[in-house]
Structures are given as structure tokens and as C-alpha cells.
Symmetry: C2
């Protein structure tokens, strides 16, 4: 954000920029006060003329797929975080971009992890201009220190889906890593050496991105069953050696934090939610993963017990904390969101 950008006061009395990265943004107007206008984003109509008659959309390399997808300066490239600390796909994408000399890309992951500190060099050399998504560990520090050339935007997972659906963020190319895929582009995360579980965070990307590339290390004959990513949305498929490191896919974010600072943040977050009145009988919440988020869920449990209320449902990874709340009857249903 340029220091010259105009600041305006939002309904909470805070000064916020009128534009972020040159694009007008809507300041907070108060609960239920903002009514969005317009229609959902819609990608261009495609035609069978432009796809192989036999349905085989496989190209030889990720670089080739990115070239065919029209990769160029200033585009927004999305990836998902289901491989967590074991993700190899996002780093590969920007290696290709660097080789091709493409600049000023916006990286739009559903989340980032320490393994993506590999991308700091591409933030330094201008391959990536900024991140819209989450910025953890070294990437977070990089942002906090003001080193990113454009302004980082952090979104909740639900907010990310909304932003894609409503066209607030237009994804030029979505690169979807999958544990299993067929050459047509049907894909899932449940089979193969890099199985990650569900690919829910890539659904909006598949549906709304202008071009969609599916990358897998486990290409199976058509049809890949079950398909969570629908091949109908996919433009190109690629087989690579590895998309993820299995032992790191499960790591890091499925244990409650022991850090006193983070526990305090979690407790304050839960108390904040309680004070605002959004914790009521029949409410719902996303517990998320990550030590702090899991702890928030636990504090929610304490509040529900004290109030004698329960949640209609909770979304989150199906971890032991959520399952315990389900068994205890504190949440009526638990949905696994990926």
C-alpha cells in the first residue's frame, strides 16, 4: 500500500485504505449494512473445438501447461494447501514462472506453510508481487517487515470462496495438485502416494478460474473415481514425479498449541466471539486446523458447556477435538471441510 493512498474511516472507527493494490475495497459498514451488487464471476464459455477429441488433456510438463494456459505478467495464480508442509506444487509453479521470466504474479493460495519460504526469493526478485491468502512463518515475517512490493491480503477460508465466487479475486490460472487424476482432469485427493484427503479448498478455484491445470503424481486411466474435482472444469493435466511429501502432509497443524501467547490469543478470540453474541444455541463454527484455531474450538466448547447450548454444526478437519465435541453432544454435526 502506498503511503499516499487515501484512508477512510470505517464503521468501527478505524482508518482503512480506500484502495488496496490499486483496487477499490469496501470498508466495514456495520453488521448487515453492506449489500453486495452484481453477479457471480463467470469464466468464459469454452468450446469442444479447443479440446482434444479423445478427452486427453495431458501435456508433458507443468511449464508447458502454464504456457498453454497463457501465463503472463500480473496474473493471479491459485494453489491449494491440502498437502500442507509437504506441498511441492506451489514451489514448482513459480520455478516455471521464473524460468519463463514472468513477473508481478499474485499468488493466491488457500493457505501457505513454512515449506513455501522457498518462494521468498521470488518475492525478492519480482516474480511474485504479493500474496493473497495466508502468510505463515517466514512469509508472514516478510510481510510484517514491509518487504512485499504490494499489499498482502489475508482472507478467511469462507471469505476466500466468497471472493472468488463474487469476482473480488479473479483467478487467471488455478493449479490443483491431486493425489489421483485422469487425463481428462477428474481428480481426487484420496488415492495415490500423495493422498491428502479431500480437496475442498480447490473447488471454487476449479469452478471459477479462467484456466485450470490439474497436476498429479498418480495419473490413472479415465475415469478417476470418485472425482471431487470435475474434469469438465479442467483445461490441462500434467503428470510429475511427486506432488507432495506424504510424511509432511499430516504434520504441524493437528495438535493444540502449547504456546502461552497463542493460548491467550485463542482464549481472547473465543471470548470476543462470545461478547459479540455469535455464540448462541444452534450457531455454527469452523474449527480449522492449526494449533491456535484448534484451541479456539476448545474454548468454544467451554463456553457452550457453561451456557448449556450446542452448535448446529462445526466444520473443520476431522481431528480428535472436534470428534470429542461431537461425541459429547456439543455439536450436532461435524463436517469435514478438507
Amino acid at each position: 500500500m502506498s503511503m499516499l493512498d487515501k484512508m477512510i474511516k470505517n464503521a468501527a472507527g478505524r482508518f482503512v485504505p480506500e484502495k488496496i493494490n490499486g483496487k477499490p475495497v469496501v470498508p466495514f459498514m456495520g453488521v448487515g449494512k453492506y449489500r453486495p451488487k452484481g453477479v457471480h464471476h463467470s469464466p468464459a464459455i469454452t468450446s469442444n473445438i479447443d479440446y482434444p477429441a479423445d478427452g486427453n488433456k495431458q501435456v508433458s510438463t507443468l511449464k508447458q501447461a502454464l504456457i498453454k494456459a497463457g501465463l503472463r505478467d500480473g496474473m493471479t495464480i491459485s494453489t491449494h494447501h491440502h498437502f500442507r508442509e509437504g506441498d511441492l506444487v506451489a514451489n514448482m509453479v513459480f520455478d516455471c514462472a521464473k524460468e519463463l521470466g514472468v513477473k508481478n504474479l499474485c499468488w493466491f493460495p488457500s493457505a501457505s506453510f513454512s515449506c513455501h519460504s522457498y518462494l521468498l526469493k521470488y518475492l525478492d526478485d519480482g516474480t511474485i508481487s504479493h500474496i493473497e491468502g495466508s502468510m505463515n512463518g517466514p512469509l508472514g515475517r516478510y510481510c510484517s517487515e514491509g518487504k512485499m512490493s504490494k499489499t498482502a491480503v489475508l482472507r478467511s477460508h469462507g471469505g476466500r470462496y466468497q471472493a472468488i465466487q463474487d469476482g473480488d479475486v479473479i483467478i487467471d490460472i488455478a493449479v490443483i495438485g491431486a493425489g489421483c487424476a485422469d487425463p481428462f482432469g477428474n481428480a481426487n485427493g484420496v488415492n495415490g502416494p500423495s493422498a491428502s484427503g479431500l480437496l475442498g479448498f480447490a473447488l471454487a478455484d476449479a469452478q471459477y478460474a479462467d484456466k485450470v491445470i490439474v497436476v498429479t503424481d498418480n495419473m490413472v486411466p479415465f475415469p478417476c473415481i470418485p472425482w471431487q474435482i470435475q474434469g469438465n472444469y479442467v483445461d490441462f493435466t500434467v503428470q510429475v514425479d511427486r506432488v507432495g511429501i506424504p510424511e509432511k502432509i499430516v504434520s504441524g497443524t493437528t495438535e493444540v498449541t502449547r504456546s502461552p501467547d497463542r493460548l491467550l490469543i485463542a482464549e481472547m478470540t473465543a471470548r470476543f466471539c462470545d461478547v459479540t453474541g455469535i455464540i448462541h444455541d444452534g450457531f455454527s463454527f469452523q474449527a480449522g486446523a492449526g494449533g491456535t484455531a484448534l484451541s479456539v474450538g476448545n474454548y468454544f466448547g467451554d463456553i457452550m458447556r457453561k451456557k448449556g447450548i450446542k452448535a448446529r454444526f462445526a466444520r473443520g478437519g476431522s481431528n480428535k477435538f472436534l470428534v470429542k465435541m461431537l461425541e459429547e453432544g456439543l455439536v450436532e454435526s461435524a463436517f469435514h471441510s478438507g
Copy 2:
């Protein structure tokens, strides 16, 4: 179609109207010659402000739901045909429209059946101006005799999905009958007294219609699992006494025709497909239901045996004819499409 509409010659040398019901249409230009432009249809962005905070979208009657959905003259109203001869929903919808004095509606079913001859009176009195979909039995006769006030448009099931997706047909209100639903709008066709099987033909309607109403005779507490229709797309839910007549849901269209005329039509259709070169190793086809369509599939089998080729996949109801071809190895995979 008015006799004054201008006719133009298409690439097959036939004269076709430039407009249908006042809307420009694209004449056949030759295989692979037409490249559609523009973007997919996208419904308006909605806001939580306009929905109940507890997620309960249930209204008391279908009529109330139609009023809330803004039913008015000239709208396009879609229904699906999964209840086949046992469908009660489409007739109910137009009873409501009649009561409300709404005129000139376009009925856009995924298919129609003899049970819908009930709607002839609404075609007569101007409640319904025309049908875009299929016109079987009495409705077909009505069209053939030139009694419909506007021009009927018949589309294939795949073509219907394309037309919705690309905005060729904009559905104002989709009314989706479901064997099971919850008040939020999650719905399936596999549970309850009017279970019909999958609701695949209503997916495009749910995703692209401006307003979506789910009607069920089996409202269950949230969440309805599995959900095939996503409640996120649904605006209103309604419980009625009955949405379908179970013994008629399975009737009529799952046996091969014995009519010599229809068998000849089926054989000629299969021969036509063969001559055009679209029956080749690795092709795919939708067998559909209905006596004639099933027979076409059987003739395809004969051609494949003779040529020593097989189909990559076939779509269709999972009837015995398709299953036999699967077992014989004539088709590699069979997909159940609804």
C-alpha cells in the same frame, strides 16, 4: 414462430428461422465451425442479510415460495423429470401460477411425461406460453398441431445443460422436487417415500437459476445427507403432502420399445451415427431412457460388435441393457446420469 420471421439457410442447406420466440438463434454452421463467445451465465450475488439467520428457509406453501421468488408474467420456470410419470410437482407449480393469475410462462422441464397432459389447459388459457424441453404424448401432439402460442424448443439433455450454463436459457425460478430435503435446502432423491434416485438433471438448475425452490414430502432435520442439491444454492424450501407417486416413478421408459415404427427410427438413428463417423473406438454415448433411446443403445452394441470397437463410457439410467454392454466389455465405464 410467426410466418413473417425471416428464414436463413444453414450449413446443412436447410432454411431455419433467424429468431425463435423473438430471440436470435445460431444456425448450424458445420461441425466445429461455431465458436461461442461471452461468459457463462451467473446469477446475482446474494447476501446473508436476505436469508434467515438460523438457516431455516422453509415457507408454508409452494404458492408462498413462488410469490417470494417473485413469480410474474413471462418468466421461465424449470422443473426436472426424475419422478417421471409419477411427477406431481410441475402440475402443482402451474396450479399456483393460475391461482395467482400469472401469464405467458415458459415451462422448462428436463423432460415431460403423459402425466403433464394436465398442463394442456394452462397452455390453452395462456398461463403457459410455450415449453422448452421435451414434449411427449399429448403435449407433443398439441405442439405438432400448432396449438402452442409460441414456438416449442426441444433440447437434448446435454444441450439443456449447455443452454443453462451459457445463458441461452435463463431460468428465473427453478422448482426442484426432492425425495428428501432439509429446511436449509440440502436435498437428495434417494431417501423418503418419493425417492426417485439421483437428481442430476436439476444440478444446472440449482447452480444457475436466479431463484431456487426445493419441494419435498420428506423434510428432515439439517443436515440432509447425502446432499446432491446444495442448500447454498437454494432460496426457499417447502413441505407438501406428496411430490411423487412411487409406483409411477419407475414406469414407462425402462423397457425397449416393441413398436416397429420406433424400432425403425432407432435403427436409422444408429446407422446415421455410424455413417457420420462418430461411432469409433473410445467414443461415448448417452443411452438415455425411453423405449426408443434404449433401442438405439442396443443398435450401437451391434455396430460395436461388428467393428470390434468399444466405447470409453456410456451415460444413462443403470438399466439392464447398459449393464449387459458393460459386462460384455462393449463399454469401459457406465455412468448413472439420473
